[in-house]
Amino acid sequence: MAVDVALGPIAAQRSTAPGVVEQTLAVAHRAVIRTLRQRALLIFPMIFPLILFAINGSALSAATHIPRFPTSNYRDFLIAMPFIQGAMFVSISAGVDLARDIESGFMNRLALTPLRSEAMLVGQLGGALVIGVIQAIVYLLVGVATGVTFASGVGGAILVIGISILIAFAFASLGELLALRFGTGEAVQSIFPLLFVTLFLSSSSLPRNLIKADWFREVATYNPVSYLLESLRSLVITGWNAQALELGIGFAVALLVITVALSQRVMKSRLARL
């Protein structure tokens, strides 16, 4: 092993600490490589929402006969759901990835470099970006292939991809927060069923105004997931609905900002570097 290779004089030769953008890109590069090399992480979480889409799209299609149902094609209504489910799966993969870094000590390795916590947090989301983009395109193509039409046209379809990536980012950031808070992949995964409950307690299967049970309608109204779904759905069914878009994008941005801010706070104690 003792190959004589000159490395120069011995003295700490770190030049200047790299800028936050360069740090973020370096961490993101690693996250993207990790994601692309773990295809199981990419494929299985993507397929599950499509299976639910296929089952519900067929089994619940009679819902369109309910008076005032907003569309005659139930798949037009349902297509928003895989995007949100996919984003929720992204939260788990992002969280478990970060938790693994904590458990393995890789986080300590990074902590010994001049890496800034915000660069680490945002960089880690690079993997989520890749999954978000691929999922969004696949869901969109599957939707179109099964007869989903976009009332907002091609521009709306592109915006659906953009919003769903934003939502995936926000959920991934939530996953990071859980990882930083609890420190283990198992803990992050155990939270997942709770996330899924928020999806089923939303307007995922029926428009809010058609939900008969008062308590359910009330919960769905206060549940931000309803507004994420409705922003995507509006582009499919009604066209350009500024209020629906504002609410959906607003809640996604709020979730992203809050989780990044909280993550940064928790990160300081998790890293524990002085």
Binding site: M1, A2, Q23, M107, N108, A111, T113, G183, R273
Partner: protein, 337 residues
């Protein structure tokens, strides 16, 4: 830094909320270019000490400086002065060796134009050039440790922390790593703070050894000095009939200080040196005690450990408190200045 200690520790303490003091008021000084072996069993406080000295864990009280910088107040300066290969090589199984080094060179602020050259040089130095583009998940334990060492050297730090660098390695990988560590210290003047639970490793590598047990340093000095403290060789006798252990102890008691291991073996110090061995054999013969095994031990660090702590290093301290994985600001923090 020349003239000043590379590492200076005074009354360093780390307490965890629901455990004993993992580090209980240790003092130590390491000179520039020295290899300091921190020897102790699992749970003795070695890794907790390293985490505090590398700024990854705040001390409960006490003071420590590394490279002339205070570990609490000047964390960034300390980190710029050190390289660390912590316990369990913290590598990403999905990435290749080269990708690890490129990430590390970027984060350590190595200029872009030098990153590739630096990466190649380090890969060659640790003998991983051929495996550079393979995923780390397929590396052997020795290869992972060598990559870990290369990562610690990326920014050419003057001080290196190696936390049990050879645990779990085969003898060949272990000696290759020893060779490289010795070269770093002796040829390049890097100060090495090395924790180990292997006596042989401390004996072979370290210029000075600190023995830690239950959070306290119980002995410190060069391996030769420590062995000289014990002074004389000892003989360990295993009787054929283990029930004869008490008789054996009575018989050997007149030769010197006696130790019994509870399994029938009796060890006696020979203040008169090896020459006393013949007398022991004669005494055993005259008493009609049949012996299964009789071994002469020259003083070793194991003897030093036994003499200072009352128990052998092997298997000692299992299950005691150490720093939690991933560091973390758990437990009380009290800055003692």
């Amino acid at each position: 830094m020349s003239g000043n200690p590379a590492i200076e520790v005074e009354k360093l303490v780390r307490e965890f909320r629901k455990g004993p003091r993992a580090v209980d008021g240790i003092d130590l000084t390491v000179s520039p270019g020295e290899i300091y072996g921190f020897l102790g069993p699992n749970g003795a406080g070695k890794s907790t000490t390293v985490l505090m000295l590398t700024t990854l864990l705040p001390p409960t009280s006490g003071r420590a400086s590394v490279g002339g910088f205070d570990v609490v107040r000047q964390g960034a300066e300390v980190r710029a002065s050190i390289g660390a290969a912590l316990q369990e090589a913290a590598l990403d199984a999905i990435l290749t060796g080269r990708e690890h080094l490129m990430l590390q060179t970027t984060l350590q602020g190595i200029p872009k134009a030098e990153r590739g050259r630096q990466t190649d040089a380090l890969l060659e130095r640790v003998g991983l050039t051929e495996a550079a583009d393979r995923r780390v998940g397929g590396y052997s334990g020795g290869m992972k440790r060598r990559l870990d060492l290369a990562l610690a050297l990326v920014h050419r730090p003057p001080i290196l922390f190696l936390d049990e660098p050879t645990t779990g390695l085969d003898p060949q990988s272990r000696s290759a790593l020893w060779e490289e560590v010795a070269r770093l210290a002796h040829d390049e003047g890097i100060t090495v703070f090395l924790t180990t639970q292997y006596l042989e490793e401390a004996d072979a590598l370290a210029d000075r050894v600190g023995i830690i047990d239950r959070g306290r340093i119980v002995a410190e000095g060069t391996p030769a000095e420590l062995k000289a403290e014990i002074g004389s060789p000892s003989v360990e006798v295993t009787p054929v009939d283990l029930d004869a252990s008490d008789r054996l102890a009575q018989l050997l008691d007149r030769f010197g200080e006696l130790r019994r291991n509870g399994r029938g073996n009796v060890t006696v110090q020979l203040p008169g040196g090896e020459a006393q061995l013949a007398e022991v054999v004669r005494a055993l013969d005259q008493a009609g005690l049949h012996v299964e095994l009789l071994q002469l031990h020259q003083p070793s660090l194991d003897d030093v450990f036994l003499a200072k702590t009352g128990h052998k290093l092997e298997g000692a301290g299992e299950g005691e408190a150490e720093a939690p994985a991933g560091g973390g600001r758990r437990g009380r923090r009290r800055r003692g200045r």
